[in-house]
Protein backbone atom coordinates (compact mmCIF):
# COMPACT_ATOMS: atom_id res chain seq x y z
CA UNK A 1 0.00 0.00 0.00
CA UNK A 2 2.85 2.34 0.78
CA UNK A 3 4.82 1.25 -2.25
CA UNK A 4 4.00 4.39 -4.22
CA UNK A 5 6.39 4.81 -7.15
CA UNK A 6 7.65 8.25 -8.21
CA UNK A 7 8.83 9.24 -11.68
CA UNK A 8 10.65 12.40 -12.71
CA UNK A 9 9.78 13.61 -16.21
CA UNK A 10 12.17 16.17 -17.64
CA UNK A 11 12.56 17.84 -21.00
CA UNK A 12 16.11 18.07 -22.23
CA UNK A 13 15.26 19.87 -25.45
CA UNK A 14 15.20 23.65 -25.28
CA UNK A 15 12.04 23.88 -27.34
CA UNK A 16 8.43 24.29 -26.36
CA UNK A 17 7.18 20.87 -27.39
CA UNK A 18 5.12 19.97 -24.34
CA UNK A 19 2.52 17.70 -25.88
CA UNK A 20 4.57 14.50 -25.78
CA UNK A 21 5.70 14.64 -22.15
CA UNK A 22 2.31 15.87 -20.93
CA UNK A 23 0.48 13.02 -22.67
CA UNK A 24 2.96 10.52 -21.20
CA UNK A 25 2.67 12.17 -17.77
CA UNK A 26 -1.10 11.80 -17.79
CA UNK A 27 -0.87 8.13 -18.84
CA UNK A 28 1.61 7.43 -16.03
CA UNK A 29 -0.57 9.26 -13.53
CA UNK A 30 -3.55 7.15 -14.58
CA UNK A 31 -1.28 4.14 -14.19
CA UNK A 32 -0.99 5.01 -10.50
CA UNK A 33 2.40 6.73 -10.49
CA UNK A 34 3.30 10.02 -8.88
CA UNK A 35 4.75 12.00 -11.74
CA UNK A 36 6.93 15.01 -11.05
CA UNK A 37 7.10 17.22 -14.10
CA UNK A 38 9.91 19.65 -14.61
CA UNK A 39 9.99 21.73 -17.72
CA UNK A 40 12.86 22.64 -19.98
CA UNK A 41 15.81 22.15 -17.70
CA UNK A 42 19.56 21.97 -17.54
CA UNK A 43 21.42 18.78 -16.70
CA UNK A 44 22.21 20.16 -13.22
CA UNK A 45 18.54 20.80 -12.52
CA UNK A 46 17.61 17.27 -13.57
CA UNK A 47 20.18 15.83 -11.14
CA UNK A 48 19.05 18.15 -8.34
CA UNK A 49 15.39 17.27 -8.90
CA UNK A 50 16.14 13.52 -8.98
CA UNK A 51 17.97 13.85 -5.66
CA UNK A 52 15.43 16.09 -3.90
CA UNK A 53 12.45 14.11 -5.15
CA UNK A 54 14.09 10.70 -4.60
CA UNK A 55 12.38 9.23 -7.66
CA UNK A 56 12.35 5.57 -8.67
CA UNK A 57 12.67 6.27 -12.40
CA UNK A 58 13.77 9.18 -14.61
CA UNK A 59 12.05 9.88 -17.93
CA UNK A 60 13.72 12.19 -20.44
CA UNK A 61 11.84 13.83 -23.27
CA UNK A 62 14.44 14.42 -25.92
CA UNK A 63 14.02 17.21 -28.41
CA UNK A 64 16.67 16.44 -31.00
CA UNK A 65 19.88 16.83 -29.00
CA UNK A 66 20.89 13.36 -27.92
CA UNK A 67 24.10 14.78 -26.41
CA UNK A 68 22.14 16.58 -23.69
CA UNK A 69 20.37 13.35 -22.75
CA UNK A 70 23.69 11.49 -22.68
CA UNK A 71 25.17 14.12 -20.40
CA UNK A 72 22.10 13.94 -18.16
CA UNK A 73 22.52 10.18 -17.75
CA UNK A 74 26.25 10.57 -17.03
CA UNK A 75 25.57 13.32 -14.49
CA UNK A 76 22.90 11.23 -12.73
CA UNK A 77 25.34 8.33 -12.41
CA UNK A 78 28.14 10.65 -11.21
CA UNK A 79 25.77 11.94 -8.53
CA UNK A 80 25.33 8.36 -7.36
CA UNK A 81 21.78 7.97 -8.69
CA UNK A 82 21.52 4.43 -10.04
CA UNK A 83 17.81 4.59 -10.84
CA UNK A 84 16.78 3.47 -14.34
CA UNK A 85 16.28 6.03 -17.10
CA UNK A 86 13.91 5.84 -20.05
CA UNK A 87 13.53 8.29 -22.88
CA UNK A 88 11.08 9.36 -25.53
CA UNK A 89 10.83 12.00 -28.20
CA UNK A 90 12.30 12.35 -31.64
CA UNK A 91 15.21 9.94 -31.38
CA UNK A 92 16.79 8.79 -34.65
CA UNK A 93 18.07 5.19 -34.80
CA UNK A 94 21.75 6.16 -34.40
CA UNK A 95 20.95 8.19 -31.31
CA UNK A 96 18.82 5.39 -29.94
CA UNK A 97 21.84 3.05 -30.15
CA UNK A 98 23.98 5.50 -28.21
CA UNK A 99 21.39 5.88 -25.45
CA UNK A 100 20.79 2.15 -25.24
CA UNK A 101 24.53 1.69 -24.81
CA UNK A 102 24.12 3.78 -21.64
CA UNK A 103 21.36 1.49 -20.43
CA UNK A 104 18.53 3.85 -21.39
CA UNK A 105 15.31 2.32 -22.76
CA UNK A 106 14.07 4.38 -25.71
CA UNK A 107 10.45 4.89 -26.80
CA UNK A 108 10.44 6.73 -30.14
CA UNK A 109 7.37 8.28 -31.81
CA UNK A 110 4.74 5.65 -32.49
CA UNK A 111 5.27 3.95 -29.12
CA UNK A 112 2.00 2.98 -27.47
CA UNK A 113 1.08 4.51 -24.11
CA UNK A 114 0.22 1.15 -22.49
CA UNK A 115 3.71 -0.07 -23.44
CA UNK A 116 5.28 2.98 -21.80
CA UNK A 117 3.24 2.48 -18.62
CA UNK A 118 4.15 -1.23 -18.61
CA UNK A 119 7.82 -0.29 -19.00
CA UNK A 120 7.54 2.11 -16.06
CA UNK A 121 6.06 -0.66 -13.95
CA UNK A 122 8.79 -3.10 -14.91
CA UNK A 123 11.59 -0.56 -14.42
CA UNK A 124 10.33 0.36 -10.96
CA UNK A 125 10.04 -3.26 -9.90
CA UNK A 126 6.26 -3.59 -10.06
CA UNK A 127 4.51 -6.60 -11.60
CA UNK A 128 3.39 -6.13 -15.19
CA UNK A 129 -0.36 -6.23 -14.50
CA UNK A 130 -2.00 -3.15 -13.00
Amino acid sequence: MNEQRRILLAKTGLDGHWRGPSVVAKALRDGGFEVIMIGMTTVDEIVQAALDEDVDLVGLSIGGHVEVAERAVLALREAGIERPVFAGGVVPPWARKRLEAQGVEVYPPGSQLPDIVAAARRLTGLSAAQ
Binding site: D30, G31, F33
Partner: protein, 304 residues
Amino acid sequence: MGRLLTLVERSDEATAEVQRHVDVGAPGACILGITGAPGAGKSTLVGALLRHALGAGHRVAVLAVDPSSPFTRGALLGDRVRMSPGGLPAADVFIRSLATRGQEGGLSHAAQTCAAVLAACGWPWIIVETVGAGQVEVDIAATADITVVVLNPGWGDEIQAHKAGMMEIGDIFVINKADRPGLMDTRRHLELLLSSRGADAPDVSIVETVATGGQGIEALWREVMACKAVLFTRAPSLRRRRRLEHLLGDALDAHVAARMQRLLSSEAGAGAVARLDQGSAHLPELVDELVAAMFQPPDGTKPD
Protein backbone atom coordinates in the same frame (compact mmCIF):
# COMPACT_ATOMS: atom_id res chain seq x y z
CA MET B 1 17.59 14.61 2.49
CA GLY B 2 15.49 13.35 -0.42
CA ARG B 3 15.77 9.75 0.75
CA LEU B 4 14.92 10.71 4.32
CA LEU B 5 11.67 12.35 3.23
CA THR B 6 10.77 9.23 1.24
CA LEU B 7 11.04 7.20 4.43
CA VAL B 8 8.93 9.71 6.32
CA GLU B 9 6.35 9.68 3.56
CA ARG B 10 6.30 5.91 3.28
CA SER B 11 5.72 4.69 6.79
CA ASP B 12 4.80 5.84 10.24
CA GLU B 13 7.45 3.54 11.74
CA ALA B 14 10.17 5.33 9.79
CA THR B 15 8.73 8.68 10.83
CA ALA B 16 8.79 7.59 14.46
CA GLU B 17 12.41 6.51 14.05
CA VAL B 18 13.37 9.90 12.60
CA GLN B 19 11.47 11.72 15.30
CA ARG B 20 13.44 9.90 17.97
CA HIS B 21 16.61 11.54 16.68
CA VAL B 22 15.65 15.13 15.97
CA ASP B 23 14.29 18.05 17.95
CA VAL B 24 10.92 18.43 16.25
CA GLY B 25 10.37 21.77 17.94
CA ALA B 26 13.06 23.30 15.70
CA PRO B 27 13.15 26.73 17.28
CA GLY B 28 15.20 28.34 14.52
CA ALA B 29 13.03 27.40 11.57
CA CYS B 30 10.21 29.43 10.10
CA ILE B 31 7.49 27.55 8.20
CA LEU B 32 5.72 29.70 5.65
CA GLY B 33 2.43 28.32 4.31
CA ILE B 34 1.04 29.40 0.95
CA THR B 35 -2.57 28.56 0.16
CA GLY B 36 -5.34 29.66 -2.18
CA ALA B 37 -7.61 28.49 -4.97
CA PRO B 38 -6.33 26.38 -7.89
CA GLY B 39 -4.76 28.62 -10.49
CA ALA B 40 -4.40 31.60 -8.15
CA GLY B 41 -0.68 31.53 -8.85
CA LYS B 42 0.63 29.83 -5.73
CA SER B 43 3.45 27.95 -7.46
CA THR B 44 4.53 30.94 -9.50
CA LEU B 45 4.48 33.05 -6.35
CA VAL B 46 6.53 30.46 -4.46
CA GLY B 47 9.00 30.35 -7.37
CA ALA B 48 9.37 34.13 -7.31
CA LEU B 49 9.68 34.23 -3.50
CA LEU B 50 12.23 31.42 -3.64
CA ARG B 51 14.42 33.26 -6.12
CA HIS B 52 14.11 36.47 -4.12
CA ALA B 53 15.01 34.80 -0.82
CA LEU B 54 17.92 32.89 -2.35
CA GLY B 55 19.15 36.09 -3.93
CA ALA B 56 19.08 37.70 -0.48
CA GLY B 57 21.27 34.88 0.85
CA HIS B 58 18.67 32.73 2.64
CA ARG B 59 18.52 28.94 2.51
CA VAL B 60 15.05 27.76 1.56
CA ALA B 61 13.30 24.39 1.39
CA VAL B 62 10.01 24.05 -0.46
CA LEU B 63 7.32 21.39 -0.06
CA ALA B 64 4.79 21.54 -2.88
CA VAL B 65 1.64 19.48 -2.40
CA ASP B 66 -0.62 18.39 -5.25
CA PRO B 67 -3.61 16.05 -5.14
CA SER B 68 -3.49 12.28 -5.62
CA SER B 69 -6.22 10.68 -7.67
CA PRO B 70 -8.68 8.91 -5.38
CA PHE B 71 -9.22 6.41 -8.20
CA THR B 72 -5.73 5.38 -9.32
CA ARG B 73 -3.58 6.81 -6.49
CA GLY B 74 -1.54 8.44 -9.24
CA ALA B 75 -0.65 12.11 -9.17
CA LEU B 76 0.71 14.76 -11.47
CA LEU B 77 3.07 16.93 -9.46
CA GLY B 78 3.59 19.99 -11.59
CA ASP B 79 4.53 22.72 -9.14
CA ARG B 80 8.23 22.31 -9.69
CA VAL B 81 7.88 23.49 -13.28
CA ARG B 82 7.35 27.03 -11.99
CA MET B 83 10.05 26.95 -9.36
CA SER B 84 13.34 26.74 -11.20
CA PRO B 85 15.89 28.39 -8.92
CA GLY B 86 17.49 29.73 -12.08
CA GLY B 87 21.18 29.16 -11.52
CA LEU B 88 21.17 30.12 -7.85
CA PRO B 89 23.29 27.97 -5.52
CA ALA B 90 21.86 24.44 -5.44
CA ALA B 91 23.11 23.80 -1.90
CA ASP B 92 20.84 26.57 -0.61
CA VAL B 93 17.62 25.18 -2.02
CA PHE B 94 15.65 21.97 -1.64
CA ILE B 95 12.37 21.38 -3.46
CA ARG B 96 10.18 18.37 -2.86
CA SER B 97 6.83 17.59 -4.51
CA LEU B 98 4.35 15.64 -2.38
CA ALA B 99 1.06 14.00 -3.29
CA THR B 100 -1.83 14.14 -0.83
CA ARG B 101 -2.17 10.32 -0.88
CA GLY B 102 -5.77 10.35 0.24
CA GLN B 103 -5.54 13.03 2.92
CA GLU B 104 -8.09 15.79 2.99
CA GLY B 105 -7.53 19.23 4.37
CA GLY B 106 -5.15 20.43 1.65
CA LEU B 107 -1.98 18.95 3.11
CA SER B 108 -0.67 15.44 3.16
CA HIS B 109 -0.07 14.02 6.62
CA ALA B 110 3.45 13.54 5.35
CA ALA B 111 3.75 17.24 4.47
CA GLN B 112 3.37 18.19 8.10
CA THR B 113 5.94 15.64 9.19
CA CYS B 114 8.28 16.48 6.31
CA ALA B 115 8.13 20.17 7.26
CA ALA B 116 9.02 19.29 10.83
CA VAL B 117 11.89 17.07 9.69
CA LEU B 118 13.28 19.75 7.36
CA ALA B 119 13.04 22.24 10.21
CA ALA B 120 14.80 19.86 12.54
CA CYS B 121 17.52 19.30 9.94
CA GLY B 122 18.37 22.97 10.04
CA TRP B 123 16.52 24.51 7.10
CA PRO B 124 15.79 28.05 8.33
CA TRP B 125 12.94 28.66 5.86
CA ILE B 126 10.42 26.06 4.80
CA ILE B 127 7.79 27.11 2.31
CA VAL B 128 4.80 24.76 2.17
CA GLU B 129 2.48 25.16 -0.80
CA THR B 130 -0.90 23.48 -0.33
CA VAL B 131 -3.08 21.96 -3.02
CA GLY B 132 -5.44 24.37 -4.67
CA ALA B 133 -7.81 24.97 -1.81
CA GLY B 134 -11.30 26.34 -1.46
CA GLN B 135 -12.85 27.27 1.82
CA VAL B 136 -12.21 24.69 4.48
CA GLU B 137 -8.75 23.34 3.73
CA VAL B 138 -7.17 25.10 6.65
CA ASP B 139 -4.67 22.48 7.93
CA ILE B 140 -1.89 24.72 6.77
CA ALA B 141 -2.57 27.31 9.45
CA ALA B 142 -1.78 24.79 12.16
CA THR B 143 1.43 23.63 10.46
CA ALA B 144 2.79 26.99 9.37
CA ASP B 145 4.17 29.81 11.46
CA ILE B 146 2.99 32.30 8.88
CA THR B 147 0.10 31.68 6.49
CA VAL B 148 -0.21 33.50 3.18
CA VAL B 149 -3.59 33.33 1.42
CA VAL B 150 -3.42 34.01 -2.33
CA LEU B 151 -6.42 35.56 -4.09
CA ASN B 152 -6.98 37.17 -7.46
CA PRO B 153 -8.83 40.29 -8.60
CA GLY B 154 -12.46 39.56 -9.30
CA TRP B 155 -12.48 36.93 -6.64
CA GLY B 156 -15.90 36.67 -4.97
CA ASP B 157 -17.56 39.54 -3.18
CA GLU B 158 -17.83 40.69 0.41
CA ILE B 159 -20.07 37.76 1.30
CA GLN B 160 -17.27 35.41 0.24
CA ALA B 161 -14.83 37.46 2.24
CA HIS B 162 -16.90 37.02 5.36
CA LYS B 163 -17.33 33.28 5.02
CA ALA B 164 -15.61 31.13 7.59
CA GLY B 165 -12.55 29.03 6.86
CA MET B 166 -9.77 30.16 4.61
CA MET B 167 -10.41 33.84 5.12
CA GLU B 168 -9.79 33.42 8.84
CA ILE B 169 -6.33 31.92 8.59
CA GLY B 170 -4.35 34.49 6.61
CA ASP B 171 -1.49 36.34 8.30
CA ILE B 172 -0.81 37.96 4.94
CA PHE B 173 -3.22 38.24 2.02
CA VAL B 174 -1.77 38.41 -1.47
CA ILE B 175 -3.77 39.67 -4.41
CA ASN B 176 -1.84 38.02 -7.22
CA LYS B 177 -2.37 38.79 -10.92
CA ALA B 178 -2.90 42.36 -9.69
CA ASP B 179 -2.66 43.64 -13.25
CA ARG B 180 -6.11 42.22 -13.95
CA PRO B 181 -9.37 44.15 -13.68
CA GLY B 182 -11.22 44.12 -10.37
CA LEU B 183 -8.21 44.80 -8.15
CA MET B 184 -9.73 47.72 -6.25
CA ASP B 185 -12.96 45.83 -5.46
CA THR B 186 -11.10 42.82 -4.15
CA ARG B 187 -8.86 45.02 -2.05
CA ARG B 188 -11.86 46.86 -0.63
CA HIS B 189 -13.61 43.60 0.32
CA LEU B 190 -10.49 42.36 2.05
CA GLU B 191 -10.00 45.63 3.93
CA LEU B 192 -13.62 45.51 5.05
CA LEU B 193 -13.12 41.96 6.29
CA LEU B 194 -9.96 42.82 8.17
CA SER B 195 -11.39 45.97 9.71
CA SER B 196 -14.30 43.96 11.13
CA ARG B 197 -12.02 41.59 13.00
CA GLY B 198 -11.93 43.60 16.19
CA ALA B 199 -9.30 45.71 17.81
CA ASP B 200 -7.23 42.95 19.40
CA ALA B 201 -6.92 40.91 16.17
CA PRO B 202 -3.32 40.71 14.89
CA ASP B 203 -2.25 43.02 12.09
CA VAL B 204 -2.81 41.49 8.69
CA SER B 205 -1.32 43.02 5.59
CA ILE B 206 -2.48 42.94 1.99
CA VAL B 207 0.15 42.76 -0.73
CA GLU B 208 -0.47 43.10 -4.46
CA THR B 209 1.72 41.02 -6.74
CA VAL B 210 2.20 40.01 -10.36
CA ALA B 211 4.23 36.91 -9.67
CA THR B 212 5.07 36.17 -13.31
CA GLY B 213 6.76 39.56 -13.63
CA GLY B 214 8.14 39.66 -10.08
CA GLN B 215 6.18 42.79 -9.11
CA GLY B 216 5.38 43.01 -5.43
CA ILE B 217 7.60 40.08 -4.46
CA GLU B 218 10.05 42.27 -2.57
CA ALA B 219 7.16 43.87 -0.65
CA LEU B 220 5.75 40.41 0.13
CA TRP B 221 9.11 39.18 1.43
CA ARG B 222 9.35 42.30 3.62
CA GLU B 223 5.96 41.46 5.13
CA VAL B 224 7.03 37.87 5.70
CA MET B 225 10.22 39.02 7.45
CA ALA B 226 8.20 41.47 9.56
CA CYS B 227 5.81 38.66 10.58
CA LYS B 228 8.76 36.45 11.42
CA ALA B 229 10.37 39.16 13.52
CA VAL B 230 7.19 39.51 15.57
CA LEU B 231 6.84 35.74 15.94
CA PHE B 232 10.43 35.20 16.99
CA THR B 233 10.55 38.04 19.49
CA ARG B 234 7.08 37.76 20.96
CA ALA B 235 6.81 34.57 23.01
CA PRO B 236 8.99 32.17 21.04
CA SER B 237 8.38 29.49 23.65
CA LEU B 238 4.63 29.77 23.07
CA ARG B 239 5.19 29.28 19.35
CA ARG B 240 7.32 26.22 20.01
CA ARG B 241 4.68 24.74 22.30
CA ARG B 242 2.01 25.37 19.70
CA ARG B 243 4.05 23.53 17.09
CA LEU B 244 4.82 20.64 19.42
CA GLU B 245 1.17 20.35 20.40
CA HIS B 246 0.18 20.19 16.75
CA LEU B 247 2.81 17.57 15.94
CA LEU B 248 1.74 15.46 18.89
CA GLY B 249 -1.89 15.66 17.78
CA ASP B 250 -0.93 14.71 14.25
CA ALA B 251 1.18 11.77 15.39
CA LEU B 252 -1.67 10.56 17.62
CA ASP B 253 -4.12 10.89 14.75
CA ALA B 254 -1.94 8.79 12.47
CA HIS B 255 -1.37 6.17 15.14
CA VAL B 256 -5.04 5.80 16.06
CA ALA B 257 -6.09 5.77 12.39
CA ALA B 258 -3.64 2.94 11.68
CA ARG B 259 -4.94 0.92 14.65
CA MET B 260 -8.49 1.54 13.54
CA GLN B 261 -7.74 0.31 10.02
CA ARG B 262 -6.09 -2.84 11.40
CA LEU B 263 -9.05 -3.51 13.66
CA LEU B 264 -11.62 -2.94 10.90
CA SER B 265 -9.88 -5.40 8.60
CA SER B 266 -9.53 -8.00 11.39
CA GLU B 267 -12.05 -10.62 12.54
CA ALA B 268 -13.42 -8.24 15.14
CA GLY B 269 -14.28 -5.72 12.42
CA ALA B 270 -15.94 -8.34 10.23
CA GLY B 271 -17.85 -9.64 13.26
CA ALA B 272 -19.15 -6.19 14.07
CA VAL B 273 -20.36 -5.70 10.50
CA ALA B 274 -22.09 -9.11 10.64
CA ARG B 275 -23.89 -8.17 13.86
CA LEU B 276 -25.01 -4.89 12.31
CA ASP B 277 -26.20 -6.84 9.29
CA GLN B 278 -28.26 -9.23 11.47
CA GLY B 279 -29.66 -6.36 13.46
CA SER B 280 -28.27 -7.82 16.70
CA ALA B 281 -26.34 -4.67 17.59
CA HIS B 282 -26.50 -0.93 17.02
CA LEU B 283 -23.74 1.39 15.83
CA PRO B 284 -23.14 3.24 19.11
CA GLU B 285 -22.54 0.08 21.18
CA LEU B 286 -20.29 -1.41 18.47
CA VAL B 287 -18.26 1.78 18.44
CA ASP B 288 -17.79 1.50 22.22
CA GLU B 289 -16.75 -2.14 21.92
CA LEU B 290 -14.33 -1.53 19.06
CA VAL B 291 -12.73 1.45 20.75
CA ALA B 292 -12.23 -0.66 23.86
CA ALA B 293 -10.70 -3.43 21.73
CA MET B 294 -8.42 -0.93 20.02
CA PHE B 295 -6.68 -0.04 23.26
CA GLN B 296 -6.58 -3.50 24.72
CA PRO B 297 -3.03 -4.46 25.74
CA PRO B 298 -1.36 -7.01 23.44
CA ASP B 299 -1.45 -9.86 26.00
CA GLY B 300 -5.24 -9.89 25.75
CA THR B 301 -6.06 -8.82 29.30
CA LYS B 302 -8.60 -6.06 29.39
CA PRO B 303 -7.72 -2.79 31.07
CA ASP B 304 -9.74 -2.04 34.22
